[in-house]
């Protein structure tokens, strides 16, 4: 008999969400110029969490002006002083991490286990890491006295709202740039709480500006002629539009775009470990991860054993209240995203792939999608080619290492890949041949501020994280 888990909900009392929030411009919360607002909801319950000011082109202009004005002083500060501000921010994030984790879970729908144990520790770590660079830029390998670019326009997605903010803001501030950041319309809250952290840290006004809003605000930010650097994380389609838009300008750009990561399991892989890695690879954050291992490539001879084991493991995943500490899979971020996942999964079935999900009961309100496996998948199938951005795994097979490499590389993307084998030389040989920016061997979806992240081919331009992440914000 299986022992049932008792509910273990995280307390919401640690976070105090105001009924409404403004834009954060020049150190102050303010209404949108045209007075527009939008509601942000909890994807797990559809409960309205708060009403948030919606930035438009005029607000973008105001924020860029504030950032430009702040740039003169901020960039002239000794690196050691900038470092101290960033260290302060890192510490305050650590102090408030439980509050932020609960907030993020409410606004995004991801399990508290992930916000508490993955997102928040990484957010603080990014600020710590880049804080230490601020007074060491001469030693970063970009020549002596590298200069900041100016005002950075940053547009981030909803899958890791606070972590993506940290990836963008920490290196920008460390290098002496000022920022205007637009969080995604479905997850604006943690960025607004971050604005409050900037206040607590005593950060000079205008250095960080936060503009919740929709795609039009992002487009206005990218197009603004006084923005020197664009940092975008999101879809490949929008990334291409940005690349077109800034053609012929002096704007520097980093683009972190889509992926269709291959997770390759060889016949000598430790199967139990591989199964855990496959689960982490595609079901972490409900599969809403650009570097997700969404294509499982398994060597034919171990296919049956692996799939049996994987299905057994999926049957133990707990889906439901993201605030419950026992929850493995939370809610899909929005109704639109859920509809997109459904459409693509239905296409998989229609094209003849075999669909499987474990028995599981989904909550009646909110946006939910059961963990899903597709077998009998060919390389031509939609589920093997298109990024689904949800908990959907496509399984393909191979016979030889060369075939595995060819299939893994048969994609427009090139962000991530996984390799599972006990043989070290095979790991390195295969990793060498994969056209992907991050390769995880016998592990998956690991992140660290010191480790550069970014893609080949249509997965984007540039790297974030590590020493490499500084380059995007320096005049080199």
């Amino acid at each position: 008999m299986a022992f049932e888990y008792a509910p273990a909900p995280e307390s919401r009392s640690v976070v105090d969400i105001a009924p409404s929030y403004g834009l954060f411009i020049d150190g102050e919360f303010t209404d949108a110029a045209d007075g527009k607002v939008f509601k942000t909801v909890s994807p797990a319950t559809e409960e309205v969490l708060s009403e948030v000011a919606q930035a438009g082109a005029e607000d973008v202009d105001r924020a860029v002006k504030a950032a430009r004005k702040a740039f003169t002083k901020w960039s002239a500060l000794p690196g050691a002083e900038r470092a101290k501000y960033l260290f302060r921010i890192a510490r305050i994030i650590q102090e408030r991490s439980r509050e932020l984790a609960v907030l993020e879970t409410l606004d995004n729908g991801k399990p508290i286990r992930e916000t508490r144990d993955a997102d928040l520790p990484l957010v603080a770590a990014h600020f710590f890491y880049y804080a230490g660079w601020a007074d060491k830029l001469d030693h970063a390998g970009f020549g002596g006295n590298p200069r900041p670019l100016g005002v950075a326009g940053q547009v981030i997605p909803w899958n890791f709202p606070l972590l993506m903010l940290a990836w963008k803001i920490a290196p920008a501030l460390a290098t002496g740039n000022t920022v205007v950041l637009k969080p995604a319309e479905t997850t604006p809250l943690s960025a607004l709480f971050f604005a409050d952290i900037c206040r607590q840290a005593g950060l000079p006004r205008g250095v960080v500006n936060i503009l919740p809003g929709y795609g039009d605000a992002g487009a206005a930010l990218v197009a603004h002629e006084d923005v020197d650097k664009i940092a975008f994380t999101g879809s490949t389609a929008v990334g291409k539009a940005i690349a077109r838009q800034i053609a012929g300008t002096d704007k520097k750009v980093t683009l972190e775009l889509g992926g269709k990561g291959a997770n390759i399991v060889f016949d000598d892989a430790p199967i139990d470990q591989a199964v855990e890695g496959i689960v982490t690879g595609i079901f972490f954050n409900q599969g809403q991860v650009c570097c997700a291992g969404s294509r499982l490539l398994v060597q034919e001879s171990v296919q049956d054993e692996l799939l049996d084991s994987l299905k057994r493991r999926l049957s133990t995943l707990r889906i439901g209240d993201p605030l419950d500490k026992n929850t493995d899979l939370g809610a899909i971020n929005s109704a639109e995203q859920l509809a997109r996942i459904r459409t693509l999964a239905d296409a998989g079935e229609a094209e003849g792939a075999e669909r499987w999900s474990p028995e599981c009961e989904l909550p009646s309100s909110g946006y939910w999608f059961a963990p899903t496996l597709f077998t009998n998948v060919t390389q031509a199938h939609t589920v093997a080619r298109d990024e689904i951005f949800g908990p959907v795994l496509s399984v393909l097979t191979f016979r030889t290492p060369d075939e595995a490499v060819a299939k893994a590389n048969n994609t427009q993307y090139g962000l991530s890949a996984g390799i599972w084998t006990e043989k070290g030389s095979r790991i390195l040989a295969v990793a060498n041949k994969l056209r992907a920016g991050v390769v995880w061997a016998n592990t998956f979806n690991k992140f660290d501020p010191t480790s550069p992240f970014g893609g080949y081919k249509e997965s984007g331009h540039g790297r974030e994280g590590g020493r490499h992440g500084l380059e995007a914000y320096l005049d080199v």
Partner: protein, 296 residues
């Protein structure tokens, strides 16, 4: 018979594609003149088809060239410098004629070009150490970042510096393991086409460098839009053309190096080496010591 009575042998300039010297598929040529307007030669006027053939050749060569050891690539590039050294007089004459500078100045340009090639030859096995490295992640992982070539790169060679400029933009692309499709200076393509002959007689595998002459705008358009081209150096394009090409390049998110003025006689730095490199980061578990914390 004295030299003044002897009728000289003209040279038929041809493209360099896939290690071979084809005429343009289009059958077209255009007149190349010296700085005073005197006829020098007919250069092939490449077509879109020639450009596509060059991309195919570059793609085919990519696996072998990018997979070669850095030491090997350095040897091969140094061999090119050796071959160039032996042809200094020929290049001096071509550069003097096409750029309208004195023999002495052209000789200095050619010498600088040979030295530039040697400089880049030495970079093949150093750039990985300078731009890569081990990352101290907070966990039991060996985490290594290494630069890798981005793939097939289109190079629009400088219009005014037909030899030193050409080598300054081409050499870094192939030194890092990319393969190249070069659009030569439109007005002064002859040194570039002769460089093809040098490459063919050195050890550079066919297809690693492909050289096209003709209309820069005409050739650049299909190359910037080509789905199998991974990067483009827009140096040889004017502002308007560069913007159009950058827009076309966005279609498959090519790596774009925008044109900006360069003093080719100055230290080139490593900007052009890193422009067409990717960074690959590999995570590998290291295992961890037991609870005692001691491995001994």
């Amino acid at each position: 018979m004295s030299e003044s009575e002897r009728l000289s042998v003209f040279k038929t300039y041809k493209l360099y594609v896939g290690g071979k010297f084809p005429r343009s598929e289009s059958g077209r040529v255009y007149e190349v003149t010296d700085s005073k307007g005197r006829w020098l030669a007919n250069a092939p006027k490449s077509s879109r088809k020639d450009a596509r053939d060059a991309v195919s050749a570059a793609r085919k060569a990519f696996g072998g060239w990018s997979g070669a050891t850095a030491y090997n690539r350095g040897q091969v590039l140094y061999r090119v410098a050796e071959m160039l050294e032996g042809r200094r007089e020929q290049f001096t004459a071509e550069v003097a004629a096409s750029e309208g500078i004195s023999k002495a100045k052209a000789a200095a340009v050619v010498a600088a070009t040979v030295d530039r090639w040697v400089w880049y030859a030495g970079w093949t096995d150093k750039i990985g150490q300078v731009t890569g490295g081990a990352n101290p992640v907070a966990g039991p992982f060996f985490n290594l970042s290494t630069p890798e070539p981005t793939g097939v790169v289109t190079v629009l060679a400088p219009q005014d510096s037909s030899f030193l400029g050409l080598v300054s933009v081409l050499a870094p692309v192939i030194a890092t393991g990319n393969t190249a499709v070069v659009v030569a200076s439109e007005r002064s393509p002859l040194p570039a086409l002769s460089l093809g002959e040098v490459l063919a007689t050195s050890d550079v595998p066919g297809g690693v460098v492909n050289i096209l002459s003709g209309g820069t705008a005409e050739l650049a358009a299909p190359l910037a839009a080509h789905q199998d081209v991974n990067g483009i150096d827009l140096y040889g394009a004017d502002e308007t053309l560069a913007k159009e090409l950058e827009i076309a390049a966005a279609d498959n998110l090519k790596r774009v190096l925008r044109p900006s003025p360069v003093d080719f006689s100055a230290d080139p730095g490593i900007g052009r080496l890193t422009a067409f490199l990717e960074t690959k980061t590999v995570w590998h578990p290291t295992g961890s010591l037991g609870a005692s914390g001691s491995g001994y």
